[in-house]
């Protein structure tokens, strides 16, 4: 058993937000999914205050050893999530981490306050890779903003608070330190790298959302560098992710300083990838 911010986990492998839909997977794979649930905790996809349909198609582009996605955070909105999804996710045999995103500190507080009231939710992860409406940059890329948001949210919850850092920044260690100062209980990284593809033979972006995020093996070495940098700067538990495909990759992240490891894109290639990785992680 692993203790992560006071939550007991059977092994150190969880999922990356937005890369596994346990409700859809249960429909597809039936009760096997629950019986052989691959992750030691389940992270929901990002929830926003209002429902979002997501970005127009196409939403995917296959890159060398990776994937660019521009999904656009489709979700039912906070109340839809709480009413429809949460009861189903509560049936999973593992603790639930709800990932939320706002475009202001105010919105983040509202989301977190609502999660605070639901006992089914074991921990809350903030996705701060959201553009600041004024600057267009990720809120999470500026240590000052990030500290302020974390601090504001911290007041709303006693549950473990995880900040999912953005990798699109000059100094991820400084951002992690800001999250720590703001009162976070843990940080997770890396989210996808800002990337783009053009439609073959044209000068139009391929993705309906124009730009997207790069994930998968292509970013693994960047993830390792960022996790090591963050470990050098903060004492907080770290959830490391980015391109993990095998037990060896997971161990590398743990050795670089992560406490848990998340599997994202590799689950697309094999839904049971995380179980395979967890089984051989030590």
């Amino acid at each position: 058993m692993i203790d992560f911010c006071g939550i007991e986990l059977a092994h150190p492998v969880i999922n990356g937000s937005g890369t596994f839909d346990a409700i859809a997977a249960r429909r597809v794979f039936g009760e096997q999914l629950v019986e052989r649930f691959p992750f030691s905790a389940f992270v929901s996809k990002t929830i926003t205050l209002s429902p979002r349909p997501g970005n127009p198609a196409p939403r995917l582009w296959e890159a060398p050893a990776g994937l660019i996605n521009s999904i656009g955070l489709p979700n039912k909105g906070l109340s839809g999530y709480l009413a429809e999804d949460l009861p189903q996710l509560a049936q999973l045999p593992v603790p639930l981490i709800t990932n939320v995103m706002g475009s202001t500190a105010q919105e983040f507080c509202e989301l977190v306050a609502a999660c605070e009231r639901r006992p089914e939710i074991a921990a809350i992860e903030l996705n701060v890779s959201c553009p600041n409406v004024k600057t267009g940059l990720d809120i999470g890329s500026d240590p000052r903003q990030l500290e302020a948001v974390t601090q504001a949210v911290r007041g709303q919850t006693g549950k473990p608070l995880i900040i999912k850092l953005t990798p699109n920044t000059a100094d991820v260690a400084a951002c992690a330190a800001a999250a720590e100062r703001g009162g976070a209980d843990a940080v997770s990284l890396i989210n996808t790298l800002r990337a783009m593809a053009l439609a073959p033979g044209s000068d139009r972006p391929w993705l309906g959302g124009r730009t997207g995020g790069l994930s998968g093996p292509a970013i693994r070495a960047v993830a390792l560098a960022q996790v090591a940098a963050v470990r050098g700067a903060v004492a907080l538990p770290i959830i490391g992710m980015g391109g993990v495909q095998s037990p060896a990759h997971a161990r590398d992240l743990l050795r670089a300083g992560a406490d848990l490891v998340a599997v994202g894109t590799e689950s697309f290639r094999d839904p049971a990838a995380a179980a395979r990785i967890a089984a051989e992680i030590y």
Binding site: A57, L60, S267
Partner: protein, 295 residues
């Protein structure tokens, strides 16, 4: 006895399986790739699998493929032999088309929602364009097989779940209308039973669109339902025709997919009335009424 519920699906084993390729047959412009999949549940016609070669997946143009690729289960025998019909259009399909018997194949599936049987007394008109004939092969196998089914849970001789509760001997009628670019592709027609063919260049069958054949068939005969798969423009045309004539149609859609089981939200297509459906879990077979248009 009732047909299975619309939109029902066969649950997939929760793990990709390593199969062996048993044959790779050239059929004109296509390849029919056979693999032995003994342990998998029988698919519904229209369901698909995510597949990848066990070796040599990732060394094609642009260092691709990386993700598995979606393919309709095109044929299935009771012994577990299943076939995929593949057209080489990029690095993933190129690698699959080059597989030899004995090589390994990763398969996840059966996935998605399949076709539903026509209500009693209605003909099924299959409309296929190009590689879109793949799911119609297994659908036709099932429809023709269902007529002789004896309650085994699978259509007789065919390892497919479909209309298996139909009264034994009750023969379902079905016509296949197939459109191809030209002669090379039209060889695909040999994979269906008594098809009617159209080609763009007139090299085989009717010169023109497969939807010309469809209009002709809908013109005068008995009540029918339509089951179609093909390129978006063809599907849109089928959809519009059936909407105009108020004929129930199911369309097997395509979309770029990363996962095939609802995890990535990458396979979105616009749903009538707003929002998106995920082709992999809400489809690939959808009721034409769910769409405003196919694009």
């Amino acid at each position: 006895m009732s047909f299975q519920q619309a939109g029902e699906h066969t649950p997939a084993p929760f793990c990709r399986r390593l199969l062996q390729v048993t044959a790779n047959e050239k059929v004109g412009a296509y390849r029919l790739l056979w693999a032995l999949d003994r342990d998998a549940p029988a698919p519904l016609p229209g369901q698909f699998a995510m597949i990848a070669a066990a070796q040599g997946w990732g060394a094609g143009v642009d260092e691709r493929p990386f993700l598995p690729r979606a393919f309709s289960i095109a044929r299935r025998r009771e012994d577990g032999q299943c076939a995929f019909l593949i057209e080489d259009v990029g690095p993933g399909t190129a690698r699959l088309c080059a597989l030899s018997p004995g090589e390994g194949l990763w398969v996840l599936g059966p996935l998605g929602r399949g076709f539903t049987p026509a209500p009693a007394g209605r003909r099924t008109i299959l409309v296929g364009g190009g590689i879109g004939i793949a799911p119609l092969m297994i659908l036709q196998d099932a429809i023709l097989g269902a007529g002789a089914a004896v309650g085994s849970g699978t259509a007789a001789g065919v390892g497919v779940r479909f209309g298996a509760d139909a009264t034994p001997g009750e023969s379902a009628s079905c016509v296949a209308l197939l459109g191809f670019r030209g002669r090379e592709h039209a060889h695909g027609a040999s994979l269906l039973h008594e098809p009617q063919v159209a080609t763009d260049d007139g090299s085989v069958g009717h010169r023109g669109l497969v939807t010309d054949l469809l209009e002709r068939h809908l013109g005068d005969e008995s009540p029918a339902v339509v089951r179609a798969c093909g390129p978006p423009a063809m599907l849109e045309s089928v959809r519009a025709i059936c909407e105009r004539r108020d004929i129930a149609a199911e369309l097997a859609l395509e979309a770029g997919m990363a996962c095939g089981y609802g995890a990535c939200y990458g396979c979105a297509v616009p749903r009538r009335g707003g929002g998106y459906l995920r082709v992999c879990v809400d489809g690939p077979v959808v009721d034409a009424a769910e769409l405003e248009r196919v694009s």
